[in-house]
Amino acid sequence: MRHSRYFVALVLIGLMLGPVFYIVVGGFRTNSQITTDPAGLPDPWVFSNYTNVLTGEVFWRQVGNSTIVALTTTIGVVVLGVMASYVLARYRFKGRGALYALFAAGLMFPATVAITPLYILVKNLGLVNTLPGVILPQIAFGLPTTIIILVPFLRAIPREIEEAAAIDRCSRLGFFWRMVLPLSVPGLITTGILAFVNSWNSYLLPLFILNDQDGFTLPLGVQAFASQYSVDTAKVLAFTSLSMIPALVFFSLFERRIVGGLTGAVKG
């Protein structure tokens, strides 16, 4: 029992990381190496695929675009999300239940369903081929998850604290700034990370909105690169593995938060 446990775990890790390993190591080979021995190791190790990508401007421009889109989306989702969640969690007014239900139902409206009207809307706003054209819809589509996670979080702040603040002549808005925001930092980080990763990996929306190569985010860039150099497998592998790094670094930094956020979201 004890040893079989470790054996299964090892096999599992092998299966999960094998393809990732193949992409990374494959980038250190030449095309002829890949053609003659598709599953072999580099012999000799070639670094030019990686250095070519890293010294070209295409990759870095796409990293820049993705960073701008992901950061702005994250800030927008978290700021708008926490403000609305505060209202939904701690104010009593007519239609509050309906408003919450509407946002919750937003989980069921994936961008897929609305994508063509969304494209037309963005076009009418003159934002096609611009990063704001991707950012604004992404903020909107990120709000449901954020609100679903944050509302229970903000509701859990004890009413006594709010009453004590009121006695100290602190208004509801003052309470929001001074108490709610500091207390909800863990929830804000979780929702922020989810928004960031989703935005970083987002494909369908940029596919519709961004037609110009200069404005491509990393996922579009990987696809364009893969079809442009479809015969140059080694180069594609190098480009692909480099574009994996940012998400993996981000993930390893915040791994506990991501896992905690996902499970928290499901429980809430």
């Binding site: 446990r5 470790y6 299964v8 775990a9 599992l12 299966l15 999960m16 990381l17 393809p19 990732v20 193949y22 992409i23 053609t35 598709p38 599953a39 927008g76 999300g81 403000m83 609305a84 209202v87 104010y91 007014f93 509407l102 069921m108 897929t112 369903v113 609305a114 994508i115 063509t116 009207p117 969304l118 809307l121 903020i139 909107a140 589509f141 709000l143 449901p144 009121a166 602190c170 208004s171 509801r172 929001f176 700034w177 001074r178 925001l181 970083w200 494909y203 369908l204 990393l218 996922p219 579009l220 893969a226 497998t233 692909t240 994996m244 791994e255 991501i258 996902l262 499970t263 499901v266």
Partner: protein, 319 residues
Amino acid sequence: MTVTEVRAGGGVRTPPPVRPRRRGIGWKQRLEILALSGPAILMFASFVIFPVVMAAYYGFYRWKGYGPPTDFVGLDNYVTILQDPTFHDALWHNGQVVVLSLVLQGPIAVGLALLLNQKMRGQSLIRVLIFVPYVISEVIVGTAWALLLQTNGAVNDVLRSIGLDGLAQDWLANPSLAIWTLMLILTWKYIGFAVILFLAGMQNIPEELSEAAAVDGATFWQTQWRITLPLLGPTIRIWAFLSIIGALQLFDLVYIIWGQYVASTAGTSTMATYMVVEGRNAANYGYGNAVAVVLFTISMIIALVYQRFVLRRDSEGQA
């Protein structure tokens, strides 16, 4: 932002509302509600609700996407969809993915979670590593697997080198195989998510229960079957819900690996790829939007039925 800065601004501007707020809400509160939730509502209404409503509207028109839609055709688009064998195929593929995800990924993930829930060295590292595919973007996953699975790719090469030449296949283009290839890739990408979810669910199960079972002489597997699994029920049901919805909306991986033309011949097209191919690439906007409405309606009905009959007792129990 620092707390002190905010404190100074927030405290000075607003007078204290110490009086009890019993009789309705005052204009000041209304203003606060509006100021705080207004921006989110505005964004959500403009970029989520409005496009969904417009999809329903465009669905009644024959429209190429230029100028305002004028050619009102009523339910014609929907009649066409229901009679279109390409849509039937796509729907069937979605159905297969829904069922296969549940019956393949569910048991595998529960098994792995049971295993990883035992005391073992390097546990947290293992959890992180199996989560890696979930974090990698669809485009990278698709590009990588398409390379691995092409006829002269690494997977077939490994099979041949270990003497299993007979198993080497055209994994992507063979119509009787491609749906399984898709399931393999989907399972690889999403199994880590399910395992992490189940592990979190298991951590909420009090240890005393399995200890008590052990005292009563239950074996390891009896304990899992009689105690852990039933108590994991709510988590499994939530996972199944997310899995079903995800499978119905499936787009990225299919579109990236099989592209717009090959998916239907390979047997992996989905309602969403059909929608994009028809609506965007064929510039058949009205029709594409009708497909979106059908996709949305199917998801909504399944979600409501599921919540009504499956998830209901869970939320009742919590309340």
